[in-house]
């Protein structure tokens, strides 16, 4: 029969009477867990930030009409040459235009798919921004701005304006920050663009667009879908790309392959587009856990040592306890509980320590051109990490305490009593 209150009280007395060693052992755990919390909160915060940066605005599946040579060249249609090795030089792509055929029905079809959260059409139009004698190369992105906001957080990259205003202003433009700077334009000004066919259009600036990547901001602007179609002299059905957002990102590659197979289109999934991105996330997670586990192993050895020493000092106590009717198992639990108490107190302290340092990081200013909406370092406040942290602390101290405690279980009281 286990009598936990006695066992607990004995453990507590042992710990309290060795305050210094107890504190040192607990601080080891505190350090390990604190570091884990800080690292994991910061690293995953960083991951989240980059997720936001890349994943949120990258379509899960990007569908467009790529200009490329046909896979099947005329010679392939000629049966007698089927078994031969055909060499074709200087293959030229056939010009089909960038337009996606039947884009609107395709959109409706994809919208009815359960996996799809939303889909936005886009028209890209090459233009020149003109100001007096100056002509700047530019790219107009014609989008359904409200959908773009809902699915790809367009608002995060818009300054001195909101997407709604563009939606309401038929000839509005969210102009690239770089372009605006070069042309000394502010909100409310008009800007002239020249289409590739040479037509001139007046657009009214309703806000700035800044992605954080200078190459993009020096070129790209957002306009309404309709505006882009007009500039190109095309009708409502002229769509150059479809951007799909899914409920589950993992479905992206499968969906992309299905679209490519079903239609004569190119579909790029987010993993293809950001192959290096996943690797970065994985490596950051790996570093976080590797460092934390290393620290906990070090703390674990500290606890192992201290408990081993404690048991050596406490031989007499162990013998007395056993002689007066405590079983080997009772004695084992007395020491395991000491390890767990060290783990618990050190762990909780580590969580508090980690929390406050994370708070500090969260309030540390972090301003960079590349990330316009970020003002402080990113921290992930997921409470799950605190649960993992305390579980880590208990598991590692349990392991560290188990061996010494089992040794205490085996101690023969007769040997100790006789030894006096």
């Amino acid at each position: 029969m286990m009598n936990w209150s006695v066992i607990l009280s004995i453990s507590r007395t042992h710990l309290l009477s060795r305050m210094k060693q107890t504190i040192i052992a607990a601080l080891g755990v505190t350090f390990g867990i604190g570091t884990f919390i800080i690292l994991v909160s910061f690293m995953t915060g960083l991951n989240g930030l980059l997720d936001g940066l890349i994943l949120d605005r990258t379509p899960h599946v990007h569908i467009f009409n790529e200009i490329k040579p046909s896979k099947r060249q005329p010679v392939h249609f000629f049966d007698p040459y089927d078994d031969s090795f055909n060499l074709i030089h200087s293959v030229k792509p056939k010009f089909r235009g960038e337009k996606i055929n039947n884009a609107l029905p395709l959109m409706e079809l994809l919208k009815s798919d359960d996996r799809v959260k939303g889909i936005t059409p886009a028209v890209k139009a090459q233009v020149f921004y003109s100001a007096g004698m100056l002509e700047l190369n530019g790219l107009l992105n014609g989008v359904n701005v409200m959908e773009e906001e809902r699915l790809f957080n367009l608002e995060d990259y818009i300054f001195e304006g909101i997407p709604k205003v563009l939606h309401q202003t038929s000839n509005g433009i969210l102009i690239g920050k770089g372009v605006a700077k070069k042309l000394s334009l502010t909100v409310g000004d008009n800007v002239q663009v020249i289409s590739s066919k040479g037509d001139l259009f007046q657009l009214k600036i309703v806000g700035f667009y800044q992605s954080g990547l200078a190459e993009i901001d020096n070129v790209q602007s957002y306009v309404n879908l309709k505006t882009a179609q007009q500039i190109l002299g095309e009708g409502d059905s002229y769509i150059t790309s479809l951007n799909v957002k899914l409920h589950d990102l993992e479905e992206a590659p499968r969906m992309a392959r299905q679209i490519e197979r079903g239609y004569d289109l190119t579909a790029i999934d987010i993993n293809e587009a950001n192959a290096q991105f996943e690797t970065g996330t994985t490596i950051r997670n790996l570093i976080t856990y590797a460092v934390s586990i290393t620290l906990l192993i070090v703390a674990g050895f500290g606890i192992y040592n201290i408990l081993n020493m404690l048991i050596y000092e406490k031989m007499n106590d162990i013998a007395i306890l056993k002689a007066t009717g405590f079983s080997g198992r009772d004695v084992k639990y007395i020491f395991i509980i000491q390890a767990l108490l060290i783990g618990l107190s050190g762990g909780v302290l580590g969580l508090i320590f980690g929390y406050f340092v994370s708070l500090l990081i969260d309030h540390t200013p972090f301003v960079t051109e590349a990330l316009p909406t970020i003002t402080t370092f990113p921290v992930n406040w997921n409470p799950m990490y605190y649960i993992i942290g305390i579980a880590f602390a208990l598991a590692s101290t349990f392991l560290a305490g188990y061996l010494p405690a089992s040794r205490a279980e085996q101690i023969d009281p007769v040997e100790i009593i006789r030894g006096q």
């Binding site: 029969m1 009598n3 209150s5 006695v6 009280s9 004995i10 007395t13 042992h14 009477s17 007499n316 106590d317 013998a319 007395i320 306890l321 056993k322 002689a323 007066t324 009717g325 405590f326 079983s327 080997g328 198992r329 009772d330 009281p413 007769v414 009593i417 006789r418 006096q420």
Partner: protein, 231 residues
């Protein structure tokens, strides 16, 4: 045995024990004995004849022997460590030559621990019992002191109080007065004898003190691991 016989508390049958390290050594040779309820028995013998070894076997702490051991006619030999620990806890009190106390616990806590382990009474009741035992031994005023902060004689009395806490059937003591001056030794002796007479407690005490032994009900004499007489 007749129907009127006083029941036996502890019975050992042909106990044999060997030490194998460093050389094989036959330390207990065919030891048989019986302690009856309320009996105060002493064991005497030359140093090294195996008294302590025998006591450890009888107290169930040492299970490495052959032969049979009964407590209240219940066979103890062959029982597991867990079961033996709880039997020790409930039925057997042990007093060591050196006053084994837990130095970081208070005096009264030391006395309470086996009672708390037994778990039949609330902590408050065990505390009251412990205080009563300490009063009986005249050291109630030391109750809240740390066990490491009292004198040798006081420690010995605390150890006796502890052995009594669960009202055991049998108390074994290995030279309980060996460390005490003659006055304290006398005190301890009278205390044990009173307990034996008043509470029907059985006592088995190893001693080198002939005067002490003479006042017990019966003396078992040992020589070279054998019982020579049980008169």
């Amino acid at each position: 045995m007749t129907g009127h016989a006083i029941p036996s508390v502890l019975r050992a049958e042909k106990i044999n024990k060997y030490f194998t390290d460093p050389v094989s050594f036959h330390v207990l040779k065919d030891v048989s004995l019986e302690i009856k309820k309320g009996e105060f028995v002493s064991i005497m013998g030359k140093s090294g004849c195996g008294k302590s070894t025998l006591l450890y076997v009888l107290s169930t702490m040492d299970t490495n022997y052959s032969g049979k051991l009964y407590l209240d006619n219940r066979l103890l030999t062959g029982q597991g460590g867990e079961a033996l620990a709880s039997i020790r806890n409930e039925y057997i009190g042990f007093i060591f030559q050196f006053h084994y106390l837990l130095p970081e616990f208070s005096v009264v806590r030391n006395v309470m621990l086996p009672g708390l382990k037994l778990g039949l009474k609330s902590a408050e009741e065990v505390y009251q019992d412990a205080m009563e035992k300490l009063r009986l031994l005249g050291i109630a005023n030391q109750a809240e002191k740390l066990a490491s902060r009292i004198s040798g004689g006081q420690k010995q009395r605390v150890a006796i109080a502890r052995s009594l806490i669960n009202s055991p059937k049998l108390i074994m003591a290995d030279e309980p007065t060996g460390n005490l001056d003659s006055k304290n030794a006398d005190n301890v002796f009278h205390l044990l004898r009173d307990l034996s007479h008043q509470e029907g407690l059985s006592l088995l005490v190893v001693t080198h003190d002939q005067d002490f032994a003479n006042q017990t009900d019966r003396i078992i004499t040992m020589e070279d691991g054998r019982i020579m007489s049980t008169a």
